[in-house]
Symmetry: C2
Subunit: 298 residues, 2 copies
């Protein structure tokens, strides 16, 4: 699976419950990684880890349930800007990630260790071990992803998206092998522009997918995203709104396109469309939705 | 004042309460600083800050009261060695310190900012902004200070103490000026070997003290330290045990030597001895003890 943040993490969990965690390799977006307080933070990888470990604050959609915020309170008091919320457990995870990266271990190895420590059995790989950063073009100029998304609450209209470092980024260790060995590849119902395209921007990954059976799950249901600014981005970036526009975005890369039952009426006009329940917001529904997805995609 | 850890912090508080915080400059030991998890930790400076801010866990003698340990729990689960306890509020302070040091600010400037953020009005300066590290010679070889003190619970007999980097360490910004401007200098009742000597090991500081009136307060009362291995170190390093041995250690540097009432009988044989209450363990007694100390030393 190629997966971004919240939608991606829920889909990884759904398929892991349906197929068994050892059958799933998730390739995660690192375009929204950031350095803060000297810590290396990988928000999308963390959301997947926390979701699979049963730790995610599902209500909020990020971070750990029942978290404390003592470290941030002190650092904020001592003058740090506190626009990006880090809980104490977050900080522990980031400290360990940062320490291992500084020792020279690649992000993929580090992510494997963090996953193991959390008891996560899905294999989670960053798209790349190299530095790749999503930049958002707005009327205010080009913003770092998290500056746009968190600090400015994605209020600025998106006029373009760029992936800094993508030209020279190589797939992380294990990514091409996982794609080669996969029965099929799933593109999670994540934001295509800022969750999936930063993965595909690693040229060798997109090339490896060309020979595979690829199914994408629509992140828009009834024209709306469950969370986040995707619907607005479709419009501002000049794409047809709704599931049909997302399907067109993926083009030849995708042979199967999964629509939610709510969008069943669109199936006739969408190449490769299949229809099933795709709503995975409630954790207790994920196993069942995962089984339906597996069946629809196979 | 020259001050080390717990005893030093209590004495700084006592004198600050007696003389007013703006009248006191504390020059703190940095020989037991360490890097851990990529964080720069200054345990002695922190103990002084926490004590003056009313945050210290007085029972334990280090760290913050009512602390949480979420970050460490996660990092430990992820494989970090956890022999040095860091609370979440500690981590927040260290993150901010580390971030400012990485920006190139000297430790003295950073310490001033941290003190301000905690509402501490005593001026706290590290002895040096340069790297100076206390090493402990034992039968097991030379150990880093914290390895000996915390990790191995100072169980190894101390055969020698060395201050790595002392030859080239310069006084931190403001230290020589503070000494020059002081009415008199107080050596806190801290461990001379590992709290005071690493300050004096900065040659320009020891030299600046030569022209000043210096009073030392005995860290041994009735031959015992309130906490820590000083009595054992006096013996293993070949010094006479008790207050008289500490007085001899400081030699000509010190003109006044403050004994606790319990040691009044020693006063006749100790050059420059004065006697007063010196026990500052209970926070509510510190103002009064501070007034007595001020009077005795002046």
């Amino acid at each position: 699976m190629l997966a971004g943040g919240l939608g991606g993490s829920r889909c990884v969990e759904a398929l892991a419950r349906a197929a068994g965690p050892e059958s799933v390799t998730a390739i995660g977006n690192v375009g929204d990684d950031l350095e803060l307080w000297g810590l290396h933070i990988s928000p999308d990888l963390d959301t997947i880890l926390y979701t699979l470990a049963g730790l995610l604050d599902e209500e909020r959609g990020w971070g750990v349930r029942d978290e404390t915020y003592q470290a941030m309170a002190v650092a904020e008091q001592a003058g740090r800007e506190a626009w990006f919320t880090l809980g104490d457990r977050d900080v522990g995870l980031h400290l360990q990630r940062t320490r291992l990266l500084k020792k020279g271990e690649p992000l993929s190895t580090v992510t494997g260790k963090l996953a193991e420590s959390l008891g996560v059995r899905v294999r989670l790989l960053p798209a790349t071990d190299d530095r790749l950063r999503t930049k958002i073009l707005t009327q205010e100029g080009e913003l770092d992803f998290q500056e746009w998304f968190v600090r400015r609450r994605h209020a600025d209209r998106v006029d373009g998206v760029r992936f800094e470092g993508a030209e020279s980024a190589r797939p992380a260790a294990g990514v091409l092998e996982a794609i080669a060995a996969a029965d099929f590849v799933v593109i999670a119902p994540s934001n295509p522009f800022v969750s999936i395209q930063p993965i595909l921007a690693v040229a060798a990954i997109e090339k490896a997918l060309a020979g595979k059976r690829v199914a994408a799950i629509s992140p828009l249901v009834g024209g709306r995203a469950f969370r986040g600014p995707l619907a607005e981005m479709m419009a501002s970036l000049g794409h047809e709104p709704g599931a049909r526009g997302v399907r067109a975005l993926y083009g030849d890369l995708v042979s199967t396109f999964v629509l939610d039952r709510e969008d069943e009426a669109l199936a006739g006009e969408i190449p490769g469309a299949v229809v099933c329940d795709t709503v995975m917001v409630a954790a207790e529904r994920r196993a069942e939705v995962g089984r339906g997805l597996l069946e629809a995609m196979q």
